[in-house]
Symmetry: C2
Subunit: 328 residues, 2 copies
């Protein structure tokens, strides 16, 4: 099934079930009002939502209405955890090569992950509000999953069973703040502002063959200012699958229901696929020409991130955002 | 007023109001069931809880019962944000001096903060469950605040107005995992397992003169295996006050209600105050004798963290935990 959260002025919005073709939606009223509730009590609530989903797909849901992604908050407008990996090692290799630094051997066996802020996610069509253009605004197109409870010391295989939903993310990064921040040694903080997620989060059965071994074998498209810049394969080159990423968290703690885990920038060795973040394009330019040519995003720039199924239809809806100045 | 969360088998527990002397408590039923609800709608709910608090203090609350810290979850059993500072630069100076490294000048003007996991906090009397003693188990006694909504670009002074509640934290750290983790460049992750908080979170008016300039001017006591090891002043040497820490987060994003912000290990220049984490004791030993002598915690070790008012009474209740092996 496909789930979304509609804006209603509240902090957590209203849970809606969305038809497979994303044409119609239906409030989940009577089952659950918020997605977190469903994740907290999945085995009881998911079958009820699935029933509603089937009725909706059959055109028989009485109070269905046209689905409008612009009315969506992030599927989880706020979450108890947002842990983002950097699971496409090719991305790390490129960025490091551009600054003449080696990739440590452990990076191929031990996932890179950082803890992100999760109190204030932005909706798929909301502006990306940034205080200063000089921060070096970049998009990062990613795949993300929402988990069930997964206990401490779970294996990667056990962790795979703890994946409830899949969605897309725009993990906005402020590139010019990163060097100073990483030099301080405590990791990303100010350089990672609010993250946006796709209109719709979907269960694994919706993905069919495309979900294999904890990876999404589909093409992630990124369109910057109307120009298609990325057609990256999200599956085969993901060095660590989502079960491995979740198990990495579980080494020292429990992962609780509603945790969001990200893949990191989707990246392919074959540069003809384009890029899922500008930093990577700039790394390639630096490797080729000694310096980056492509500038980061400006206020007014747009970014669209989407995945299409074999039928050409959007699977998760599209993230479609504009960069805007903070006027506060 | 003083607020706590009682275990009831649910993920978020039941909100209780606790009397000033921590002797009695009363369910907040009819006002709010969870602390996050109160933080989401503070101006409406806090006055109602304050009324109940006064009735309770006057011994007139009809359904009052004896308060038992062992029944407590963390005041927020899970939160949308846990951002921990390292605001006592003396701690950083000691740790760096022990490894012959300088403290960069910017550390005195730009706070160090990391994003922590917030999906699975532990109660004040719950065991600290660790998978392996060899991880180098350490306690970290800290002061923490819970915030209201604070908008992007808020000043430190504005951010001070966004502090709703104060509590204590045991930011458990796995010291032997830290070097490799920091070397990866993405900051703390596996080295920071679940954090514990004091039984009670209190509003600023409860602290009287002890709350000044965004700092808690009280003595934080740490007792390890029954031996008092720390009597550290939490106020005067806090290099960055809580308004500055919150404003640091707000540089690039909004901080939303219910965010928890920590001080980092409380640390004093005068070593006679003792220590609020073992790593600091080991740093001092290394500076003095070339190598650390004190070992990290073992399974079965206990840690008690508390603050007493001028009247000798506990202000936040005590964190009182045992280190236990993960049996999963």
């Amino acid at each position: 099934m496909k789930l979304a959260t509609y804006k209603d002025g509240s902090r957590d919005g209203q849970l809606v079930v969305v038809s497979r073709d994303l044409s119609t939606a239906h409030y989940a009223t009577g089952i659950a009002s918020k997605l977190q509730q469903v994740l907290d009590d999945w085995n009881f609530m998911a079958p009820q939502l699935q029933d509603l989903y089937e009725t909706l797909n059959n055109g028989k849901a009485r109070h269905a209405f046209p689905f409008d992604p612009a009315q969506c908050m992030a599927p989880l407008p706020r979450a108890y955890q947002w842990a983002d990996g950097s699971a496409f090692i090719n991305h790390v290799e490129l960025v490091r090569k551009a600054r003449n630094s080696e990739v440590p051997q452990t990076f191929y066996t031990d996932p890179l992950m950082y803890q992100g802020g999760s109190d204030d996610f932005i909706g798929p069509c909301d502006d990306v509000v940034v205080a200063d253009e000089a921060f070096g605004i970049d998009f990062e197109a990613e795949v993300a999953v929402i988990t069930a409870d997964v206990p401490m010391r779970a294996s990667p295989e056990q962790a795979l069973d703890g994946i409830r939903l899949v969605m897309l993310a725009n993990d906005v990064s402020l590139r010019n703040l990163i060097p100073d921040e990483l030099a301080k040694g405590f990791g990303f903080f100010q350089s990672k502002p609010a993250t946006a997620f796709s209109p719709v989060a979907v269960t694994l059965d919706e993905l069919g063959d495309a979900w294999q071994g904890g990876r999404l074998h589909m093409t992630l498209q990124s369109t910057w200012n109307g120009r298609k810049v990325g057609m990256c394969e999200a599956g085969p080159e993901m060095t660590f699958h989502f079960g491995q990423l979740i198990a990495h968290i579980c080494k020292t703690r429990n992962v609780r229901a509603g945790s969001i885990v990200g893949s990191g920038t989707v990246s392919n060795k074959d540069w003809s696929h384009g890029y899922s973040c500008i930093a990577e394009k700039r790394a390639i330019e630096t490797i080729e020409d000694g310096k980056p040519k492509t500038a980061f995003m400006k206020f007014g720039d747009t970014i669209r991130i989407e995945v299409k199924g074999k039928d050409g239809q959007l699977v998760f809806g599209a993230i479609e955002q504009k960069i805007a100045a903070c006027t506060a």
